[in-house]
């Protein structure tokens, strides 16, 4: 045996030991908890629940902030753990925060469509918050697909929203970098709708297949060689838990979302109607802060950037953060910038 072979053999043996240790830690961390800030359930409609986070400090913004997350993932990623929590940072900034959790659709919900989500679920949440806060408008924070719903709602209900913040929100679905859009462009949405609700795992599979080696392999291999301690493993498992914890999607709403936005690009083509009324970006006059991730593989920055071109507001601020789609919610880089930007931007407009 050569000296090089002996060195390689020793290194591999060490690596094997390390893998064993990491596996044990991963198993131990499997039941790790997610979601860290106390909140109370204040309203519900169908499977949707509206939560209000308990304040952590004296209120410093007179308007409540309602967070509208995507339908395709769980909102607890915004409050994953104390040191990775957009919600907690905003609570510390003195904001009064409400969060919509869409829940788990069942087969009986397969006909729930986007109009229901926008007018009844999101609309009902807004109406509830308004009644609790003297009837005035609310600040709305839409995240990813929830940003699209928030834009639609704001376009339809001008006096219900004071300021709008969008985070990783697609607006122009036909930019060249948008791989998901290319893949679904010719899907028969009526046929897919007939097949019923879509399991969360299927969407996960689609998201992972956008960059399969990076998203389904590389992160584990990096863990192989990094000698992670218990805390690092728990952080890792929390993220994994969230990534794979996707709710099923209502057939009608998903089919509409694909058709209206991914296929027909109705927001930028100005052809969107909801509940019999035109929902036009040009009608949105509210101050708008648009935060997008520069390395986003699901919602390319170009898809979000377009909002600035179509929005009716004269008070528009666009801001790119050097991170990826999920990094926008949990990375240290975005944690250091995003909450402060949102809080200070809202404070200037209260």
């Amino acid at each position: 045996m050569t000296a090089a072979a002996a060195a390689s053999g020793a290194a591999l043996a060490d690596l094997t030991l390390q893998i064993g240790e990491t596996l044990t830690r991963l198993q131990a961390a499997r039941e790790v908890s997610v979601g860290c800030s106390p909140k109370e359930r204040v309203w519900s409609y169908g499977k949707t629940t509206l939560y209000r986070y308990l304040p952590l400090t004296v209120k410093r913004n007179s308007l409540p902030l309602l967070i509208c997350f995507a339908l395709v993932n769980r909102p607890y990623v915004l409050d994953l753990q104390p040191d990775r929590s957009l919600v907690r940072r905003l609570l510390e900034a003195g904001l009064d925060i409400y969060l919509i959790d869409w829940g788990d659709p069942e087969d009986a919900d397969r006909h729930t469509d986007l109009e229901d989500y926008i007018e009844e679920h999101l609309g009902g949440s807004v109406r509830y918050v308004r009644t609790q806060c003297g009837g005035g408008p609310v600040n709305l924070l839409g995240v990813c697909q929830g940003g699209v719903l928030s834009l639609c709602y704001t376009a339809l209900h001008q006096d219900a929203v004071a300021n709008l913040v969008t985070l990783t929100t697609p607006v122009d679905f036909h930019t060249p970098e948008n791989l998901l859009s290319k893949w679904v462009r010719e899907m028969d949405t009526a046929l897919i709708e007939r097949c019923g609700n879509v399991p969360g795992e299927l969407l996960n599979g689609l998201f992972l297949s956008l960059m399969p080696l990076r998203l389904a392999q590389q992160k584990y291999v990096r863990l192989l060689t990094s000698r992670p301690d218990r805390r690092a493993i728990e952080d890792f498992v929390r993220m994994e838990k969230w990534i794979f914890d996707s709710p099923p999607q209502n057939a009608a709403a998903l089919a509409q979302f694909v058709r209206w936005f991914y296929q027909e690009n109705r927001l930028v083509r100005d052809t969107l109607s909801i509940a019999g009324r035109r929902a036009r970006l040009g009608e949105i006059r509210q101050p708008l802060l648009n935060l997008y991730a520069l390395e986003d593989h699901i919602v390319p920055a170009s898809a979000s950037l377009a909002l600035g071109e179509y929005i009716g507001s004269r008070d528009y601020t666009g801001c790119g953060i050097a991170t990826g789609h999920i990094g926008m919610y949990v990375s240290r880089a975005s944690g250091a910038q995003v909450p402060d930007r949102i809080a200070s931007w809202l404070a200037e407009r209260s």
């Binding site: 050569t2 090089a4 072979a5 390689s8 290194a11 591999l12 893998i19 596996l23 991963l26 198993q27 961390a29 499997r30 790790v32 908890s33 979601g35 397969r110 006909h111 729930t112 229901d116 009844e120 339809l156 791989l179 893949w183 010719e186 899907m187 028969d188 949405t189 046929l191 897919i192 007939r194 097949c195 969360g200 299927l202 996960n204 599979g205 297949s209 960059m211 399969p212 080696l213 389904a216 590389q218 584990y220 291999v221 863990l223 192989l224 994994e240 838990k241 914890d245 027909e264 083509r269 052809t271 109607s273 019999g276 009324r277 600035g308 071109e309 179509y310 004269r314 008070d315 528009y316």
Partner: protein
């Protein structure tokens, strides 16, 4: 703190173990275990074969990809969704075998197999390109990695080359069309099988999916109406100021217009007939140029 329910695919230790196994396999290919100078050019073929195999397996969560064809017939990866192998005549009942729909099912099955074959060609092309890129980027022949850090560096280069090759293919229009056609064919097969199930269920006098859907539609409309009635203030409380809200006014108009009993009846009828309305046609208004909005002053 709470622990919400997790999806069925949340198995970090399994994913980690599988990744470790593949990493070792790759390192073996790179000659790490032998500690020898590797003939890197000769690596292209085994590297491509490994990657192609992995690409086929990794598409498992996308049911129309055909990843299950080799190993998991029937239910795909615990999704409770039928794989291509599961499509076929229903196993029981008078309409199971002789149904007039069967030729259509076989036609769709054939088409699905054909499309999955085309997809496999893409995986092969991606894998070969990835391996070639990797070998080219290695440049002068290095020695096999001697430490995990060196191995990881090599691995990162491999991932980068593989993702580049993958992106190059999957962004192409022909690949996108293939993905869509696979999904459509798969959905058509499910729809076909459900139609056969309905025939069977009807023959036993049981309620069908279509009938249940019609009831859901009716229930949904009633809930909507109820919610709107609940929001509407009593007539005596509606003052001119209250009515000044454009939002409330629009909601009332919408409620009055759209939620008519006639509309509801027709919705139920549509549901009972198992039909879906066609997607609305694109409006010519959609052609508005982005340039008309550009250059507007901003604060």
């Amino acid at each position: 703190m709470h622990t919400p329910g997790t999806g069925t695919s949340f198995k970090p230790e399994e994913a980690y173990a599988a990744a470790a196994e593949r990493f070792f396999e790759l390192m073996k290919t790179f000659g790490m275990t032998a500690g020898m100078t590797t003939d890197w050019k000769a690596l292209a073929a085994p590297l491509a074969a490994q990657f192609e195999r992995w690409l086929q397996m990794s598409q498992g969560a996308v049911p129309w990809s055909g990843a299950a064809a080799g190993g998991t017939p029937g239910s795909l990866f615990g999704l409770g969704m039928p794989g291509a192998a599961a499509f076929g005549p229903l196993p029981v009942g008078p309409a199971a075998v002789q149904g007039a729909e069967m030729p259509r099912t076989f036609e769709l099955l054939g088409r699905l197999g054909q499309l999955q074959g085309e997809l496999a060609k893409h995986w092969s092309e991606i894998a070969a390109t990835a391996a070639q890129r990797f070998i080219a980027k290695l440049g002068t022949a290095p020695t096999a990695p001697a430490s995990p850090q060196q191995a990881l560096k090599l691995y990162e280069l491999w991932v980068s080359c593989a993702e580049e090759a993958y992106a190059h293919t999957v962004h192409r229009q022909d690949f996108a069309r293939l993905q869509a056609e696979l999904a459509n064919t798969w959905a058509a097969l499910i729809a076909e099988q459900r139609q056969q199930a309905e025939t069977l269920v009807r023959s036993f006098g049981l309620p069908t999916r279509t009938e249940v859907d019609a009831l859901y539609t009716q229930l949904k409309e009633l809930r909507r109406q109820l919610a709107e009635l609940g929001r509407e203030p009593p007539a005596s409380q509606v003052s001119a100021t209250d009515m000044g809200s454009r939002d409330a006014e629009q909601e009332r108009q919408h409620a009055a217009g759209k939620r008519s009993a006639a509309g509801m009846r027709s919705a139920v009828k549509r549901g009972a007939a198992g039909k879906r309305s066609a997607a609305p046609k694109r409006s010519t208004a959609g052609k508005r140029s982005a340039r008309t909005r550009a250059g507007r002053p901003r604060r």
